[in-house]
Each structure stands twice: as structure tokens, then as C-alpha cells.
Symmetry: C2
Subunit: 251 residues, 2 copies
DNA sequence: CGCCTGCTTGAGATCATTCAAATCGTGTGG
DNA sequence: CCACACGATTTGAATGATCTCAAGCAGGCG
């Protein structure tokens, strides 16, 4: 089990190493985590809202989203997209009762990793605890931008900002170029993420396409003019770049 | 310095202990943190966007907000309110370059605490590292709700939800009752938090008042009908209640 | 072919913004 | 005590953005 999932875990390790320094022993400990692979259909819930979980989910393949759901009429707000290599609810290690749900946007493969093991690792290796904390913080940083995106940008700028963000993250993760990457969300799912109506997302995408900024075809984003798109979005990628700490680099 | 700020630090310790179990030694280590008190005028920025900081800010008194600012026209989106006892940028310990800013909503007292010391504590005491991580996660949980609030609720429900959230948090922190607490934000600042226009906030508050749900008078929130307000807001306080972990309670 | 899902279109209603101005309260200086 | 300035709240009217509802279209698949 652990051996077959090694390469998937190394995706996660890569992500950690992008932000933190870990010793060979610490890296080995992460690669040897017990895990259990799991396949999820597109448009299915992996974790339902309010469910108590005893494992974290590492996205191996596909696209996964975190969402909050309104009790009254079931309308959803997606609060995060998770690409392969992301541990989509690492924070659940310290807060196992989720107020949110996790859904597979497209058909996806995820790895279940027991909280107990992750917590043991964090307790034994202070550097790993800090690395986990930093990883969670990176997600929180994205979440903060998501708030201002939904709260303060109109539909075209908001959509453009999301496309820019995912582009940079795909590129960082080595899964495509910022101007060309696969992104399997339907317009309905996009609407859930943008805090808009599917109809309005449709018209907005048409406008962006007509402006020569971007096209979404065959579940693939093509950015035709990155610079103008970034200007429209008021996109500054700084929030996606959490640097290594000086003393960590020195160590 | 440390002695005079002890009681302020104990506010923060209280907050940590609400979610995590810490030994006497660990508690002592937190109370003995070096710190430097600092007074901030209302409507002034404590940390400007993009500034690199080497200390975290513990709110002692007043009201503080985290915000994201648009480069083009300077309009702001507040992404979090921090009440006394909150360490408003604990995450900056692991991500010192902020994409956001911190502003004093009202005149406030904050304690500056060096990152170096907090990091040392997290490294020496695994339980403290986990406690810090959990504290950051609690803020992230609130942030997630903030996204769905701004993205999926109309102005009255959105405003109601914020009032409910702050009410519960004030109560948890022992700073008031959920139906009656001081809240020093002006309508302009409220608009920044709600992703609305000040004018629209004004009309929304009038509507809520006319419905007999709440009044804001003299910088004080009076909830006249909590139950109906919670229904309108579709408010479920679960996301604010991060429980102690079973193994922590046992230890 | 028939069905399903996702995408597209139209028209009207609703929500929220904009801009401009009036009002109110508080504190300050004359 | 009054005049004034300032920030905060309130109001009105017009505009614009987004939503709702309802229907039509296109492609993939059994």
C-alpha cells in the first residue's frame, strides 16, 4: 500500500519542499506515510458537510473543491480548488469536524491519510509541524484573496482573477502553463466558486472570449492575452509565493 | 515589559486553551513571551499591505481588521475582524510577507511579539506548535464562512450573519453577550467587510432595524430577536466551535 | 434515435451601485 | 453661547449589474 502510493506522496512532499526545508529523515517519514487510494466520480461528494473525518485527503489526480452549503436551499459556495499534490484538508488534522464539504469536480483519485499518523509526524518532527502549518497557511492566504475576489470584483474581473490564480498554481505544480492548462470545472461549478449564477458566468466567459482574453474549450483553459487578463483581474501573484524562511534556508 | 504585558498574554493563552491542552510549563512559556505594547489610532493601518513583518500582533483592546486592498483604486475588502485576545497574524510566523494589511478599526492596543520567539516556542514544544496551528485553523474556518457569506447571501442575510458571528465570538471571549456587545465599526468599515457599498449597508441596517431584528447604536450592537436573525442569516455556529482533540484531553 | 448533460439565448424583475446632497452629532475655536 | 468644521449617517433618483425563469441548442452515448 505505502509503496504503491509513494509517487503520489512525493507530489505532496514536493509541495512542502517548495516552502519549507526538511531533512532526508523527515522527507523519508513523509514518503512512508500509510495511505489508501480512493477513486471519486466527478460531481460526487468526498466529504459531506459536517462529517467528522479521521483522515486527510491528498489529491493525486483530477480536481477537487471545498465548499460550504446553505442549509435552506442547498446552494453552494466553493471556497477552494485543490490540484494534484494538494492535501485538501490538512487542517482537519487539528480540526476534525468540518463545517464544509469536499467534492470531486472531475473524476479524481485521492489518497486517504490517517490523522493519527500525520499528528504523530508533527509531534516527532518540529520541522514537519512547521511545514504543515505553513502549508495550511498557504491555503489560508488563497482563501483571503478569494474573499476579496468575491467581495470586491465584478464578474469579468473576478473570473479573470480565478483563471490567473489557477494558472500560476498549475504552473507551480508542474501541471501545465499559466496560459494553457486543463481545468475540468463546468460553468455551474465555476459559478459556485465565483459566487455568480451559471447564466451570468456563461455571459461573462463569452465577453472575455470576445475581448480576446481567454477561451475555455474541452475542459482546457487557453489564456490568449495574459498581460491584459492580469490587468483586468488586478492580479498580483505575490500571495501565491510563500518564501522559505531565512533561518530554514540556513539550516 | 514581560511582566506588565502578562495579563494581555493571558488573554491569548485563554484563547489557545479553549481549543488545546497545554501543560503548566507550556502555559508558562507563553505567558513569558517578550512583547511590546503599541497603541493605534482608529482608522489607521497597523501593517500596510505587502509589508514584511518580524512580529505578530496580539489584540489587547479595541477592534482590528485584516484587509486586502485593490491596487487600482484603493477599495478595500476586510477579510477578518480580530477581537481582544486574538493574535491577528499568527500565520505570519510561518509566512512573514503579508499580501494583506492590518488596520485598527477603532483605537486599539496591540502587543508586538517577535516571530523568532514564537517560532522557538513552536520548535521546543510540539504541543504549542499544534496549538498555534489549530489557532490559525480556527481563523481559516471563519475565513471560509466569510467567502460563502459574501458569495452567496444577499445584503440583509449577509449583514445578519456577520452580526451573529461577532456576537458568538464576543461571548466566547467573555467580552459581552451575543445579543449585546460593543462593536466599533462605522458603516463604511462594515461595508468593507460585507463587500457592499456604505450606502447599501445603511439601507440594509435600516431594514433590519425596521424588522425588529437588530439596532446598532453608539457603537453598540443590540440584537432584538436573535432567533429570527439567525434564521435570516442561516447562521450555524458550528464553525466557531473547534473542539479539543480526544487524545489531547486524555493526555 | 432518444436522452442526458452542458452550453447558450432572451426578456423582465430585482438587487446593488453611483453620485449628489441633506441631516445629525460632536468637538473646537471665537 | 454661537459658529463652524468634521465625520458619520441618511435620503433620493438614476443607472447598472446580476438574477430569475424559461426555452432552445449542441454534442456524446447507449
Amino acid at each position: 500500500m505505502a509503496t504503491s502510493n509513494m509517487s503520489a506522496l512525493s507530489l505532496f512532499l514536493d509541495r512542502l519542499l517548495r516552502r519549507s526545508v526538511l531533512s532526508a529523515e523527515e522527507q523519508g517519514a513523509i514518503l512512508n506515510l500509510r495511505s489508501h487510494a480512493f477513486q471519486a466520480e466527478g460531481r460526487s461528494d468526498i466529504v459531506s458537510p459536517g462529517q467528522k473525518v479521521d483522515h486527510a485527503c491528498l489529491v493525486v489526480d483530477g480536481l477537487v473543491g471545498r465548499f460550504d452549503q446553505m442549509a435552506a436551499d442547498g446552494r453552494r459556495q466553493t471556497t477552494a480548488f485543490h490540484l494534484p499534490g494538494d492535501m485538501c484538508d490538512l487542517h482537519s488534522v487539528v480540526a476534525p469536524v468540518a463545517g464544509w464539504g469536499i467534492e470531486a469536480i472531475a473524476t479524481s483519485t485521492v489518497l486517504h491519510i490517517p490523522h493519527r499518523d500525520l499528528r504523530a509526524l508533527a509531534t516527532s518532527y518540529p520541522a514537519i509541524a512547521l511545514a504543515f502549518w505553513r502549508d495550511t497557511t498557504a491555503d489560508a492566504s488563497i482563501l483571503g484573496k478569494w474573499v476579496s475576489n468575491v467581495g470586491r470584483r465584478n464578474a469579468p474581473a473576478r473570473t479573470a482573477h480565478l483563471v490567473c490564480e489557477i494558472g500560476i498554481r498549475m504552473e507551480q505544480a508542474g501541471l501545465g502553463e499559466r496560459t494553457r492548462y486543463t481545468f475540468a470545472a463546468t460553468q455551474v461549478q465555476l459559478a459556485d466558486a465565483l459566487g455568480l449564477t451559471p447564466v451570468h458566468v456563461n455571459r461573462t466567459l463569452q465577453a472575455l472570449r470576445a475581448d480576446g482574453l481567454l477561451r475555455i474549450e474541452q475542459r482546457m483553459v487557453h489564456v490568449d492575452d495574459w498581460d491584459r487578463l492580469a490587468v483586468l483581474a488586478e492580479f498580483d501573484p505575490e500571495y501565491l509565493l510563500i518564501e522559505h524562511l531565512p533561518e530554514q534556508r540556513a539550516a
